[in-house]
């Protein structure tokens, strides 16, 4: 395991942890003052392919099976550059593997597992959607990069000048990469800083409401004014 | 984006009972048109938002001919254009109007 990841785990779980890396998948447990939590994640900006997705869903299913009626929290560590780009993977139905993983994550929530995602490194589009973004609570660690696409690529595809995008990104959180932008839109609940005690902060997140509050949060923070409003309009329309 | 507002005299067909309705689609070379009831039975109002710049005169000509061609008094047409040719514009407007009549 990279020294950086090791340091992260030590800071999160001063009570001790046993987390192994197989390929680019992390799995194991971490100790907190409230007891052990499951740790499942990826490292080294993993491009999520069918094997990684299967390893992650396997870890989630095993956690559910192991805990039975006493569900412990699951801490996801997300570090992904997105989905693997491959013809074979597409043929096999990578989207289906991601959907399966999402279902497993949701089953864990249904079974009472608290779900927390820590973004360490990168969290990019498809790879992030499959598990990290489905947690009850999502945190970006310092230096975390969250995005769908960088602005140069976006400029190329949308044919909007790069300069114009850069300028608009100063005021709008809606399209430019950045954990801060996701925080403003309610997609990330918290941004941790380098100096805080992460084990204490994690502890505080291990309880809470499993409802999806992101749209409301986005409106509160002023970054996403329509998501909740329009959903409510549809909900109450005659 | 360029916008154009046009308010033209028009004859009303009282038998038309327009529900607001949307026709077409905003895709390259195409447009959508939202037909609604207007405020004045003797006028027809057009609001155009277009991606193609510099065609105000052409739009005016197309819409003026359309308003002369059909009894569109008391109607308003809101258009989002993504570079439709005048032929497509006329066709969509005709289709939208004919659908009101047919419905």
């Amino acid at each position: 395991m990279r020294p950086g990841k090791q340091t992260l785990l030590n800071r999160l779980f001063p009570e001790g942890h046993a987390i192994t890396q197989e390929g680019l998948v992390l799995r194991g447990w971490g100790g907190t003052k409230q007891g052990r939590v499951h740790v499942i994640g990826t490292t080294d900006h993993a491009a999520i392919d069918t094997r990684i997705a299967l390893a992650l869903s396997d870890a989630v299913l095993k956690a559910i099976a192991a805990d039975g009626s006493d569900p412990r929290p699951i801490v996801f560590i997300a570090d992904t550059q997105g989905q693997a780009l491959s013809r074979r993977e597409e043929l096999l139905g990578l989207h289906g593997y991601f959907a399966h993983l999402a279902r497993c994550v949701n089953l864990a929530r249904q079974q009472g597992h608290r779900l927390v995602t820590l973004i360490d490194g990168e969290a990019v589009s498809g790879g992030f959607l499959a598990f990290g973004l489905l947690a009850d609570c999502i945190v970006a660690l310092p230096g975390a990069e969250v995005r769908v696409m960088d602005l140069r690529a976006m400029a190329r595809i949308t044919r909007i000048p790069f300069e114009r995008l850069t300028e608009l990104a100063q005021t709008s959180p809606v399209f430019a990469p950045g954990a801060e932008n996701y925080w403003r839109m309610g997609g990330i609940q918290a941004l941790w800083t380098e100096t805080e005690d992460w084990s204490e902060q994690l502890l505080a997140l291990l309880q809470g409401n499993p409802e999806d509050e992101r749209a409301r949060l986005g409106a509160e923070r002023g970054g996403r004014m329509l998501a909740d409003l329009v959903a409510q309009q549809v909900f109450h329309a005659h | 984006m360029e916008t154009l507002h046009l308010d033209l005299p028009a004859i009303q067909d009282a038998s038309l009972n327009p529900r607001a309705a949307l026709y077409g689609v905003v895709s390259s070379g195409n447009l959508e048109v939202l037909v609604e009831r207007g405020h004045d039975a003797t006028r027809c109002v057009f609001e155009v938002q277009t991606a193609a710049h510099g065609f105000v005169e052409v739009w005016k000509a197309v819409l003026t001919d359309f308003a002369a061609r059909h009894p569109v008094g008391g109607l308003s047409f809101a258009i989002h254009d993504a570079g439709a040719t005048p032929a497509v514009v006329s066709l969509r407007l005709d289709q939208a109007f004919q659908s009101l009549r047919g419905a």
């Binding site: - | 570079g83 040719t85 005048p86 032929a87 497509v88 066709l91 004919q98």
Partner: protein, 552 residues
């Protein structure tokens, strides 16, 4: 009488041919040449300034030979004069960039139009003329006879007999002109066979053949995916069928390439049938095997089709419909551009095609600034053949209209231009002055590259309506008839409204409603096929579309 006068030799060309062959012997075994020896062979037999026909059709390309020629040393091979119908490959352009070739007489340069224009501007090329196909073929036998031709065939046998496959195109006319004038004929083939399905070119006309490392490139140029046909094109097709095909009783015709004409083909079994036109119109065609013609063939509209070339994927369908097409005894299509162009010019009553620009006289052009495209088949098909002597109902009716209703001494071909008034915002199809004139000036040409001359055009169809130019009695009327269907283009908006209404009263301009066409009926539901898959189904699975056209 005068003993000092030198004795003239009468077999200079044959001797020169003999010398070429002798220089080539180290690089061939009989007529067979190995692919790796082709460059050496060309360097040995070619002489500076030779007239060379490097077979480039609009579909089949002698691509291996083109690349071999381009790989020759410009020190040994230079200043060639290329005489070929189509300049399609990057290698064709390279010949001029490297100085291997210097002069060009041709017809069409679609894919290389930009680079060709740059060559002209940098004075790296001399263009003799941009010809129609038949003109160029004619000149092969008069003053542009090739000394060497490099052609493409499907297969050769050990003796050098050639089988051309369904894409015959220009090959017979090129070989005929070269072989019988002491020239050298070199063929690239896709395969060597024990026995050919049929012999299209006898071995005695062929000097060398080479099995190319990869099969020659064939562009599926005539495949139009019905998916892209618009409602506007459906509307214009309805006008063409009802207002022209039905009214003149057009039985023999040619269609240009494009979605406008594909729409007509796909409307025959639906709209055409509903008007009771089966057996009355569109029975005999000079046309490549367009996939979009399949539904009309299956519906029984079409009786015979002769083709310039073939079309990729249509082989099995054509072979299974021998009554319609011209297959050899072996079952595969025989096409021939020279004969089919002749058929289009003299034996057809109607040509219909699209264009990029039309001016106030009805001249049309596909030339735009910075591109030298040349012409395809349109100028021959889209011209009134004044040498024609046989009558037909459509030809006589058109002639009578042109002659003010009096019985004329000759008929008139129907030449129809069908265009949407705006191609896209910023590009009107109707213009005061064709770009062709500017191009003539920029490129120092003798003539503007006009595709179809206005005085040959009988009708213009746009989404606004149809103008019958045969009925116009003065240049002013003609101009207003054109403006009157030019829609919201600047040309159209500058019309004299009173005059246009007058022309409409006289039936010179007709709107869809005047023809009994309800614009609301113009939907894609009228198309007999709306996708390539529909065409495959209509063919009973015989049509095998190229992979880029399939979405299953």
């Amino acid at each position: 009488m005068n003993a000092l006068q030198p004795i003239r030799t009468w077999n200079h060309e044959a001797l020169r041919r003999q010398a070429r062959l002798e220089r080539s012997t180290p690089f061939s075994r009989g007529k067979a040449v190995a692919a790796r020896d082709m460059v050496s062979l060309l360097e040995a037999l070619l002489e500076p300034g030779d007239r060379v026909c490097l077979e480039g059709n609009n579909q089949k390309q002698a691509d291996f030979l083109a690349e071999s020629l381009a790989a020759c040393s410009p020190q040994r091979v230079h200043d060639l004069h290329l005489v070929q119908s189509v300049l399609a490959l990057p290698a064709h352009i390279e010949l001029f960039e490297k100085g291997i070739a210097r002069r060009l007489d041709f017809s069409f340069a679609g894919p290389q139009a930009h680079r060709l224009a740059r060559l002209v501007q940098s004075r790296s090329i001399e263009i003799g003329a941009i010809h129609t196909y038949l003109e160029l073929f004619g000149r092969y036998f008069i003053d542009l006879t090739p000394q060497v031709c490099l052609i493409a065939a499907q297969a050769a046998d050990a003796e050098g007999n050639l089988y051309l496959g369904p894409n015959t195109e220009d090959t017979p006319v090129i070989v005929e002109a070269t072989a019988f004038k002491s020239g050298i004929v070199i063929a690239q083939v896709n395969e060597q066979l024990e026995r050919l399905p049929r012999v299209d070119i006898p071995a005695s006309w062929v000097d060398f053949f080479v099995v190319a490392p990869t099969p020659n490139h064939i562009e599926p140029l005539f495949t139009r995916d019905p998916r892209h046909i618009t409602e506007i094109q459906v509307l214009m097709a309805m006008m063409a069928i009802k207002g022209i095909y039905a009214e003149y009783g057009v039985e023999r015709l040619n269609h240009g390439i494009g979605f406008d004409t594909a729409a007509i083909e796909l409307l025959l079994p639906t709209y055409g049938e509903s008007l009771g036109l089966k057996g009355k119109i569109a029975r005999y065609w000079a046309l490549n095997p367009h996939p979009t013609l399949i539904p009309a063939i299956e519906a029984g509209f079409v009786e015979r089709v002769h083709s310039f070339g073939s079309e990729v994927g249509m082989e099995a369908y054509v072979a299974a419909r021998p009554d319609i097409f011209f297959p050899g005894a072996d079952g595969s299509l025989r096409s021939n551009r020279a004969f089919c162009q002749t058929a289009g010019l003299y034996a057809c009553d109607l040509f219909i095609g699209s264009t990029l620009q039309i001016d106030l006289e009805g001249n049309s052009s596909t030339a735009t600034l910075g591109r030298i495209t040349g012409f395809g088949g349109a100028p021959n098909m889209g011209s009134d053949a004044r040498g024609r002597r046989h009558a037909s109902a459509a030809w006589l009716k058109a002639g009578q209209e042109k002659n003010g209703g009096q019985t004329p001494a000759r008929g008139q071909k129907l030449v129809v231009q069908t265009v949407e008034t705006w191609r896209e915002p910023g590009h009107p199809a109707f213009v005061e002055r064709l770009d062709a004139w500017q191009l003539k000036q920029d490129m120092g040409m003798a003539l503007p590259p006009i595709m179809i001359y206005g005085d040959d055009v009988s009708h213009i169809v746009t989404e606004e309506g149809m103008a019958n130019l045969l009925l116009c009695r003065s240049p002013e009327e003609r101009e207003q008839a054109i403006r009157g269907v030019a829609g919201y283009t600047p040309v159209g908006m500058a019309r004299d409204h009173a005059l246009v209404e007058n022309l409409r009263d006289r039936g010179i301009i007709r709107r869809p409603a005047d023809m009994g066409i309800d614009v609301r009926d113009a939907t894609r539901d009228l198309l007999a096929a709306r996708s390539i898959k529909d065409l495959v189904r209509a063919s009973g699975g015989l049509y095998q579309p190229p992979k880029q056209f399939r979405n299953w």
